[in-house]
Amino acid sequence: MADIVIDRVVKEFGTFRALQEVSLTVNDGEFVALLGPSGCGKTTLLRIIAGLETQTSGHVVIGGQDVSTLAPRKRGLAMVFQNYAVFPHMTVFENVAFGLRMQKAQQAEVKRKVERAAALLHIESYLDRYPAKLSGGQRQRVAVARALAVEPAVLLMDEPLSNLDALLRLEMRTELKAVLREAGTTTIYVTHDQTEAMGLADRIAVMYGGKIDQIGSPLEIYATPATRFVGGFIGSPPMNFIKVQCSHGTARIGDAALPCPTTGMDMELGLRGEDASLAPNGSGIPFDIRVVEPMGSHLLLTGSIDGQPARIVAPPIAKVSPGERVGLTVDPARVTWIDSTTGRAVVRA
C-alpha cells in the first residue's frame, strides 16, 4: 500500500505544454479518477506516474520514495491498458502469472496467486486458453487479473472500459469497484466518461488544458463546480450558463429575482437542469420550450431562458408542449455563480 504525491509535474512535447505544473496527492488506498476530454493531459500524467513517459520537471513520489527517475519496473506498480495489452502468445495463466514470473516467484506461489486473481475476476475456466479465443470483456478481466496478481502498491488504469460495449461496461464497472474495494489498492483511473468516474472514484480530478481544474468527491464536483468547464463537463445534460446582470446583490431574470454574491460584475448563473422545477402558476424564471424529449425516467426540455439556450429536466408526467412558455423555480442554494471573465466560480459569502 502506498500514497502518491505528484509535485508540480510539467510535460512538454517540443513547444507544446501537455501538462502545466500539475500537483495531486492520492492517499493510501484511495481511488482517484483523472477525468477530462481527450487531449487534456490525463493519459500523459498517468504515463508519467508509470514511468513510461519522462516529465520535463517535477517529481513523482510513491510511498515516500521519489521515483521520478526510476524505471517503470522499479516503481512497484501495475497497470491496465486501454487496449488490454494481453500477450497474445501466452495462455491466460501465463499472462496473469507474468509479473510473478518476473519477480522469480516460486511455482507454488505463482499458482496460488494466479488462481486467486483469476477467482476474483471469474476467469478460472479460461486459464489454459489463448487471449484470441476470448471476448473483449474476458480479455479485460485477464488484464485486471494480471495487474492484481502481483498485489501492487499502486494500480494505474488507462480507460480500461472504453473498448467494451455499453452493457458490459456497466457490468464491469460495478465489478471493478467491488474487486478494488476488496483489494484496497491505491488506484489512479483515467477516463473521459463522467459516469465511470462518478461511479467508481472516491475523488475525481477534472483535467482541462493540461491542468487540474478541480479535485473533490463526485458530489462536490457535481454540486459545486469550481469552473465553468467543470460545470459543463460533468452532468447530463450539462449545466446551463445564463448571462445575468447583478445589481444591488440581486439578479433579475424575467419576474424572478435571485440573490447574487457580488455586484457590478458580468456573471453567469450556472443552473443544473434537474435543479429547476416547473412552477405551478407559471411564475419564476421564464423558459421557452422548443423541444420535448421523453427519456422514460424524465422529460428533457430544450429551449431558452432570456434568449439563451438551456436544458431542463422535468418529471415524466409533466404536461408541457413545444412552443409553450413555463416558469421555473430555483433553490438559490443550489445554483453556481460564475465570473464571466475568469470562468471561475464565485464563492458565496
Partner: protein
Amino acid sequence: MPARTSWIPYALIAPSVIFLGALFLVPLVQTIWLSFSAGDGFSLGNYQRMASDLNFSLAVRNTFLLTLVVVPLQVVLALAMATMVTKLDKGRDLVLWVLTIPLGISDLAAGLAWLALLQNTGYLNSALYALGLIQGPVGWLSQETPWALFFAIVLAELWRATAIVLVILIAGLQLIPKEFSEAAEIFGAKPWTRFTRITLPLLKPSLQSALILRTVLAFEVFAVVYALGGRNFPVLAGEAYVWQNDNQNYGVAAAYAVLIMAISLAATAVYLRALRTRPEQLP
C-alpha cells in the same frame, strides 16, 4: 446474371496464369524433365554424373557452409539494426535509406566492388602496405587461402543482403503495438527479457518470411562467389553455370538446378513447420 458474368474472374486472372505458365511452370517442368532424361528415355545418368564430379561434394559443402554461417549472422545483425532503427526519434528514414542502399546494387556489381577492395592490387592491400603492415601484395582470394576467401565471401554477402532481412523485420516490428512491451516493462521485465519473451515471439511471422527468403536466396548464391573466387570456391549454382556454359551439358546443369530447388523447398518446409504461429496465438 451470375451465369453470364461467371467467366469474368477467370478472364481477369488469365493474364497472370498465362504469364506464370509460360515463363515459370513450363521451364520448370522442362528442367525437371531434362534432368531425368538422357538419350531417349528416363535416366538417372545426369544425377550420377553430377554426384561423381570432383567439385560436387565441395560445392554442396561450401553452399551449406555459406548458408549456415551467413543466414544466422544476417538475422542477428538485422534484428540489432531493426531494433536500433525503430528506437530512433530523428533521422530514422535517412538511416534506413543508407542501410538499404546495398539492396539497389546487383549482386554481380556488389561482388566486383568487393573484388576491387580485396584483390592483390586492391584497396585493402594498398592500405595495409601504406601502414607498413605488409611487405607486398597478399592474395586473400586465392586457392591457398580458402578461409580468407570464405571470410571475404561471407563479408560481401552480409553487406549485400542483410538489408532485405532488415526491411522485413522493421515492417514486422512496426506491427507490434508498443503496449505489449510497455506492459512487460511495467510488470518487471528488463530490456533483454522484453526482447526474448515479448518482441521475438510476436515477430515470429516476420522472422519466418525473412528466413525463408534469405535461405532460399543463400542456396542460390552465385554472382558474389563467382566475382570473388571464380571456381576456387565451388557452389551449387556456380557448378550449374559451369556445366551449362563451359561443358555445354544441359542435363547435368538441370540436375544441379533441380537439386537446388529440392534443398530450397526442404528448407522452406522446415521453417514453415518450426516457426509456425498457431492461429490462436496471433494478436
